[in-house]
Amino acid sequence: MNKPMQEVLTRFDLNGEAVQVTPATGERLSQSLRERLGARDVKVGCDAGDCGACTVLLDGAPVCACLVATQQVEGCSVETLAGLAETDSVASRLAESFQDHGAAQCGICTPGMMVSAVALLRETPEPTETQIQDALGGVLCRCTGYRKIIDAVAAVPSRLDGQGGIGGSIRRLDGLPKVTGQEAFGDDVAPAGTLEVRLIRSPYPHAAFTLGDLEGWQATQRGIEAVLTAADVPGRNRFGVIPAFVDQPVFAEGVTRFRGEAVAAVVGTPEAIRALDLDAFPVTWTERPATLDIVSAQADGAALLHEDRAGNVMCGGFVAHGDADAGLAAADIVVEGHFQSGFVEHAYIEPEAGFAQVVDGRLEIHACTQAPVMDLESMEDILGMERGQIRIVPTAVGGGFGSKLDISVQPYLALGALKTGRPVRLAYSRVESMQSTTKRHPSDIHLRIGATRDGKLSGFSFYGEFNTGAYASWGPTVANRVPVHASGPYRIADYRAEAKGIHTHCPPSGAFRGFGVPQSAIAQESLFDELAGRLEMDPLDFRLLNVLEDGQPTVCGQVFQQGVGIRQCLEALQPAWRTERAAAEAFNAAQTGPLRRGVGIASGWYGCGNTSLPNPSTIRAGVLPDGTVVLHQGAMDIGQGANTVIAQIFATALGVSVETIRIVGPDTDITPDAGKTSASRQTFVSGNAARLCGTALRSAILRSVNAGDEAALNFGGGQIHVAGTGEVHEIALGDLQQGDLGYVFEAVESYDPPTKPLDANGQGEPYAQFGYAAHLAVIEVDTALGTIRPLRFVAAHDVGRAINPMLVEGQIHGGIAQGLGMALMEEFIPGRTENLHDYLIPTIGDIPPIESVIVEVPDAHGPYGAKGLGEHALIPTAPALLNAIAHATGTRITRVPVTPSRLSAALRGDTDE
């Protein structure tokens, strides 16, 4: 007979061992596995079955552990990645293959991917691509673009090569824990039972609120240890990433400016937090009229979000070069367009999460982040604490793409730990993550471009407004970057571009891979195809005729005498361009049904590092008395591969094999500031610091024995073996004096890219280098349904020098997947698409084969010639797809995403329905 089950054990088999738990009624299996059984390899990305990160095998079948009640698995077998990786031969083989292919980048989806793949391979040892896609279709990945995961599961031969020097495709140095379930992300570090934080958030885009009797409420709540509000912020109740625009409160005071803004937090035991009835929290809301778009925000009489920002204009950016109006007047053909895009959500599979504790009077924050030292600076300000009293220990980061540059959970963790005196943890739910963290800016762009009959550009006039949401975040950066980049990598003598950020009662728009440039590239590259069409020129030839070359000024008047690689990128696409265009046209000529194929191209460029602002990176390294070389690596690896690339550069400079290096960090107590993982700067800027550090360490060692530059170094056994031409030295390290950190040799080096300020017309030297890219997209359109099936990409990227070609391809694939999502399916609508089933990102079935062409036009400033890559991986994708749609259908789409509904309407000549 049935009895109440609270007192009843649930027994099952976990990874081959009998276990028993006493779950709460209806507790999710994912929760029991993680918190009661320590199986933190089961990742929680959405708690709704939308992401598959928590996939486990239940009696051999893949299921989402978040959708299973623990009581349902009584008597069953449950297998997770950590168990499979130890004992299952299929999983062991996959663990090797995933590393060989770079199939795990950040690693947060890897448990779900590998567990699903184990189930497939047990039944079907040699699956087809379609079988792999069907089996893995329930697991979302935001980093890899899926193609390398398909390769890894199919066990195609890997292309690893080299010993880890420059240009070697080696496995990620930090890859093993990602494929064995051992990697610890933001929510994986707190001990079970730690106090938890839950935030009280605004249900309205704009509202006034009053807090009621908090103490009285708390007194009625068992297990609630603290309530936090603005009154608990000891320092400044503001944060932001740009000093002149620090405007976002940790806790709103009296008024909220976007749906999901925090007004209070409660701290309590896990049981109390789980039982919390947020509807009973004492807060009274008065909804106020909200301005949700840039038009109403700029209307006469529109209420100001920030009193000192007239017209709700946050700020603007401007670049003028030559005379745009004169250029357009002199043009034989002028095209113009109005282009729009919506909010795009980063949709990393790891929601923001972390853990904080006070240790010996110092505050420690363990959280996922792209910018530990910026976090430290924000926390100093918010907490009013000495910098030395705060330690930021980044966890593994389950994807960032720009949004984890801003603080999220950190101040709540800090305030909770300080107020209770006990460790606290906080993981945002998927809904909270989507409601409250930054987005890609919606854009509204008017662009006119002219050309003369000979195909040369003549005049370019750009005006773009960007919905920057309620708070500034990285909005000023977008406003500044867009005018500098809106030309694309072309020579345009007469140019004007203006961008503005407009405040609305929407979530803050911030940094997202490309900082506004993907939006402006859509306008520019679409109109380039229009111009080519009007000129009756081949679109690729038209671009080649106008590309920026060495020695020519950019629209900022900056002249690069070397390193401009866009021509090489476009030329690399020429063979595929000719064959694919001809094949598409032949296909279309033979069609009687609704299918049409199209081929599009687009270019992109991206200035690496901060725009005309210092952004130094510092790298430290030392040699221990036993001969171990230690690299203090503070450049955040958020999946892109900095841990590997920085080590490869450092090892090359030092003259040793990369396997011999021990990497420590990131940790603000241990690693010097390597800046933020942003702006495609880590390979370039931190890479240079690593190169200088390796070189300096090598010089110090050689100098100590007067050895020549060519000498070979070998470390180990308490010695450095220095083999020069004709002479050999053994440096006995035990005899040497140790520095403060215990090193007998040590080097600390910094690099800051040389730039010059921009004047009022945006003229100057904003970046020391750009990266360049061109994409070709082949698609098939079902004109009856408005659906688009991408068939192939060819992507050429000038990375100067590929430090690790496998990781370069990983960035390209992931960028294309995000660009494809932005082009075809992704639009965040506050209050409506705050989950991963209404907000769609590409699945493993949506990304076609990608051919990467790595172009290497070395840059004099780059380490070994290397340029940044992270953002230009994405920039050309959306316009290439739009150009392919126009080629296939003759219809030019000017608003993304091009959903089937929108494309179908456009093909009928309707602007929208």
Partner: protein, 283 residues
């Protein structure tokens, strides 16, 4: 607040009467709809009732137990009239969802975009409902009464879905239209179950989901299809007023109302032709 695990339908119905519990089947809608809210009621888990699982042939057709999962339906040995249902089963969420989600859960959740409903409507399915001491059957078209609404009284449970016998040579097909390949809520989906007389359609049942609060059969289109060859179906002008009459799509983030009507006209033709030709079609 208890976690109840009855071993028989009688026991489940008795407990449901006493406890006012939340019913848990596969969990794939139960947990997402709960979100982060606390569980405050007892849970009645139907997972240990053997009689609710599996598919069996009956004298008058087929009985699909309420707790039968989409994966089990995919693997079941069923005649071609069930191909549409099997295709729908492969399109429900993901493999993970198909391994847990149940046929009755899909019906009781009553989403307008429930992938299982159009093929079951086209199969003339009936829902077997149990209450203490009694069972009743209602046509599926009468069971789902609105968005998130079904004709289930307090104390009742769905025990099975019944599909009446069809000729062995009846054919079927299902198409789903979404904005991405996997894990996608349908913009529209269509199911067709046909009996053929040589190259011509003898009887047709066509149902459409996600284009009305409850998925609908299209009697006007069904009548127009009778006697047509596949080539004639391809050339059939679909007249919304007559052929798609019961549909009343809304505009939402997945598509406009007008788009849904246009797409459905085309999807219906493709689904019927694919059922007739036994081939796949571009989806």
């Amino acid at each position: 607040m208890s976690y109840l695990t009855p071993k028989s339908t009688e026991e489940a119905l008795a407990l449901l009467g006493q406890a006012g519990a939340d019913v848990l089947a596969g969990g794939t809608d139960f947990f997402p709809s709960r979100g982060t809210r606390p569980q405050t009621r007892s849970i009645l888990d139907l997972g240990q009732i053997d009689s609710l699982r599996g598919i069996e042939k009956t004298a008058r057709g087929w009985r699909i137990g309420a707790m039968t999962t989409w994966s089990q339906i995919q693997r079941a040995d069923l005649p071609p009239a069930f191909d549409a249902l099997k295709r729908a089963a492969r399109e429900v969420g993901s493999v993970q969802i198909q391994n847990r989600g149940t046929i009755a859960g899909n019906l009781c959740n009553a989403s307008p975009a429930a992938d299982g409903v159009p093929p079951l409507l086209a199969l003339n399915a009936e829902v077997e409902i149990g209450s203490p001491g009694a069972t009743r059957r209602v046509a599926l078209s009468d069971f789902v009464t609105g968005v998130r609404r079904v004709a289930l009284s307090p104390g009742e449970l769905v025990l099975a879905v019944h599909v009446p016998s069809l000729p062995d040579d009846a054919v079927s097909h299902f198409l789903k239209l979404g904005s991405r390949r996997y894990l996608v809520i349908s913009i529209a989906m269509t199911a067709a179950v046909l009996e053929l007389d040589g190259p011509r359609i003898a009887t047709a049942r066509v149902a459409v989901g996600a284009c009305s609060p409850v998925a609908q059969r299209l009697p006007g289109l069904e009548a127009a299809l009778v006697g047509l060859t596949a080539a004639e179906v391809a050339a059939l002008p679909v007249v919304p007023e007559t052929h798609l009459a019961p549909l009343a799509p809304i505009a939402d983030v997945r598509g406009s109302a007008a788009y849904r009507m246009r797409a459905v006209a085309d999807l219906c033709r493709r689904t019927v032709i694919a059922a007739m030709t036994g081939g796949t079609t571009d989806e």
